[in-house]
Amino acid sequence: MAKTHSTLEAQQYHPKLEMLKRSWYKFSKNPMSMIGLIIVVLVFCVTAFCNVIAPFAEDAGIITHMSEAFQGPSLKHLCGTDDYGRDVFSRMLIGFRPSMGIAAIVLLISVPLGVFLGLLAGYYQGTLVDTVITRITELFMSVPPLILAMVVCCMFTNNYVFCALGIAVAWWPWYTRITYNLVVSLTNELYITYTELSGIGMLRIIFSEMLPNLVSSIITKMTLDTGSIILTASSMSYVGLGVQPPTPSLGSMVSDGVSYLPEYWWLSVMPAVAVIVIVMGFNLLGDGLTDVLSVEEK
Amino acid sequence: MAEILKIENLSVQYQVYEGVLEVIPGLSLHVREGERVGLIGETGCGKTTVLKAAAAVLHCPPAKMQVDTIEVCGMATNSRAGVKNVRKNVSMIFQDPSTALNPTLKISTQMMDILKSQFPKLSRASYTEKMMDALRSVSMPAPERVLDSYPIQLSGGMRQRVCISMALMKDTRLIIADEPTTALDVTIEEQILELLDHLVQEKKKSLIIVSHALGAIRKITDYVYVMYAGNIVEYGTTREVFQSPLHPYTDGLLAATPKLTGDGIADGIAGDIPRYINPPKGCRFADRCPRASAQCREQAPTLQPIGSGERLVACFAAQKEAKAL
């Protein structure tokens, strides 16, 4: 009897925890989402400890071992060695760091900025503020993102911080748009009107009613976007924008290897596969989150 | 009289994220030539599913359907020819006219495609004439303008009239109407139901109708099925069922309707329809039933004939009472 009582009480006490448990249960039942989660966790681990994990961490620099150049994949060199005899596998693992770093910088800039402007425009719907913000977003959306990012990156210094800045410049309008659309659709819903009628301030409405809705869609979008940003950054580093040699980055490793195709295929195929796996991990995780969160909404 | 629609032992399951929903465990019903049959019950008890299965548009995933027979005009529907037969003999009116019309096509286009399937080779003028006739038959004002409109340019009532006219354009023997007035204004409800009734009687069609407007059901149907949580719990002529309901659920349902002469607020039935995942093994109504016994929770009652007429009920208490009489 006492036991039933306490579980009941626990359930009443932590409705959010219960919901989280439910979501996790649904999420974990989908093997694809779990694969995504595992890949993402692994990617984070590699990013954090690449210096320790990489068997030849010193190969990230300008070291050369000419005697070992162009060795195929083997147990010692899992993904072979490159034209300077450096271990491709180690360089790949170390190349995760700038990719993830760029994704982090882009999201750190574009999410707060985008969401803030979106909330602002949504809050002052139909006023000058709304118009100005909407026009600015349209302005930044009028050029394909990759081109905008390239221009911004090149105009200043061609390194990976400015590469990230460039992508961020092209990225934030999407968050503004999502937030704005969410705020508009939510304010049109009746319950917000009711809350408004009941005399609670608009700001409080935004924070208590909209933020939870917003957070779930922003988190999903962030997960999916991490994949796209890594893809974009690797495309940029493929043409030499972003991380500068000798620091390895996945995109530039692929492009450096192209001239040795097809004999020394591992030079470009291995890092390309790494990009595909990382992006797929984030996409699978994002899709899984979308499933769980949208079911929750129903 | 010949049976226009016969469903025997239909069971439908939905596979969803949480598990299997046993929406309909095993249901049989029939509509005979010229009969107007009502199907009543709370929202969410599987009425639409039954109707869709009858019209052969219950698409298999997500639903998993098993059935002994569904016959339309004496022909099973589980073959290509059977489906063709259904299309020839059955039309259906949907619950929500705002989703039943294609939002991207003009009314004229949608009506035209239906006409073309029935009369493949006619002149443009006679197609238009037929469409105008169909719209006039549902007393639609300004039919030319309606033909040239998209669904969003019409009001809810007008859309449902369009739907009815489209359903009646084919010369079918059975009309299936799935809550034709639920999405409409109360003021239009009566008009639409009267219109439907009038057209059905005029053209001597059979009708199976689901509606929450019990008053209307009482007025326009000959027989009525009462459904609860995927089961038929009572069947009889409309007059008998409404006058002396046998199943406690029917009792509650009728009592829940506000009466003009009654005083105070109508009684509802306490509780909710049981969840369809792992439904109770006994009577599905037992938890809400004022007359439930231990037997009701252990064993599911089956439909048994009561008295001499065509009266069926699935309730141990009612069956015992009838035996005692």
Partner: protein
């Protein structure tokens, strides 16, 4: 009719406004570039005088707005985009030389995205939950997560030494008398050289596929899900019961509403296509506009950068406008609301 004409006019004006704003922003950005692009373009040996003269000639010593206005009048009246500091000739000449080929490549790829995306999406939706659907879904998932250069490399590897029908890199030379627009395939068509046209198309094949494949995959996924969603809509069941024939049901009643989301994301796919063209032109050694744009950007050539941004902006905005008009044509809900 008049209503939709008004809508299109409004959209064009809006587009022009945004593009003007864009050029102004890029101008101010360029002024912010650390270092002097004019000075670095003339090399270390140039005298102060020459630099000052060149600066004056390029309006770099005037206020931002004056420079912008001068550039704008040049563009509008003479189609003159200024002088490139990288090629040391009129940017408009560079554009005329490089753009047509890239435009042709992108147009072909854009067509491919729409046709193949819709085709595979429809196929998957019609055979939902069969092996066809599963196969298409698996492949399209891979297509979405794979970078364009990886496809380029795969095609390079596959076709590298095969002397097959699809050459990698390079186009057949078009004799000078046939050149009219600068776009190889179009020129061949215009001058009736069909054998050469086929050769051009063969050369386009691999770069086109590599540029488009990711977007084809994305488009197919969107189209599949929108069709699957609409199959369960009441209006399809209603039309089915009412006896509309199967072919018409799929091709008309189901396809038309399903196209709305497909077309909506199409604009974005064109954006990613324009981006991918940078990489693919590089891999297949097509000396096109993306390659030129990349060089201009890397060399910080002010007028070049402005021209490149504006041209990509124009292409992208025009595509988006066409997409908007297309969606409005498909969806009376948008068209009628837009008219109000």
């Amino acid at each position: 009719m008049k209503k939709s004409g008004n809508m299109i006019l409004k959209k064009i004006l809006h587009m022009v406004f945004i593009l003007l704003l864009l050029s102004l922003i890029v101008f101010s950005f360029i002024r912010l570039i650390p270092g002097d692009p004019v000075k670095s373009s003339l090399g270390p040996l140039a005298s102060e005088d020459t630099i000052a003269q060149y600066r004056h000639q390029l309006y770099f010593d005037r206020p931002l707005l004056v420079q912008w206005f001068h550039w704008l009048t040049g563009v509008v009246t003479r189609g003159d985009f200024g002088t490139s500091l990288y090629t040391h000739r009129a940017v408009s000449l560079d554009i005329a030389q490089y753009l047509p080929k890239s435009l042709e490549l992108c147009a072909l790829a854009a067509l491919l995205i729409l046709v193949l995306g819709v085709f595979f999406g429809t196929l998957a939706a019609l055979f939902k939950n069969t092996w066809v659907d599963n196969l298409i879904r698996f492949i399209t998932y891979l297509g979405v997560v794979t970078p364009a250069y990886a496809f380029g490399i795969v095609f390079l590897l596959i076709f590298a030494y095969g002397k097959g029908a699809f050459p990698i890199g390079g186009f057949p030379t078009i004799p000078a008398e046939f050149v009219r627009t600068g776009a190889p395939a179009l020129d061949c068509l215009l001058s009736g050289q069909f054998a050469l046209f086929v050769k051009c198309m063969q050369s386009y094949f691999l770069p086109c596929i590599s540029v488009a494949i990711g977007s084809i995959a994305y488009q197919a996924r969107i189209h599949r899900s929108s069709m699957v969603e609409n199959v369960n809509a009441d209006y399809i069941a209603f039309a089915e019961v009412a006896g509309v024939s199967k072919g018409k049901l799929i091709c008309k009643h189901l396809m038309k509403p399903s196209f709305i989301p497909t077309l909506t994301v199409y604009g974005l796919q064109v954006a990613s296509l324009l981006g991918n063209a940078f990489i693919i032109e590089n891999i297949f050694r097509i000396n096109g506009f993306s390659q030129y744009a990349l060089n201009v950007i890397l060399n910080k050539d002010p007028y070049g950068i402005i021209a490149v941004t504006i041209i990509f902006g124009i292409i992208f905005s025009v595509v988006n406008m066409l997409v908007d008009i297309g969606v409005a044509m498909l969806d009376p809900r948008i068209r009628l609301r837009g008219g109000q």
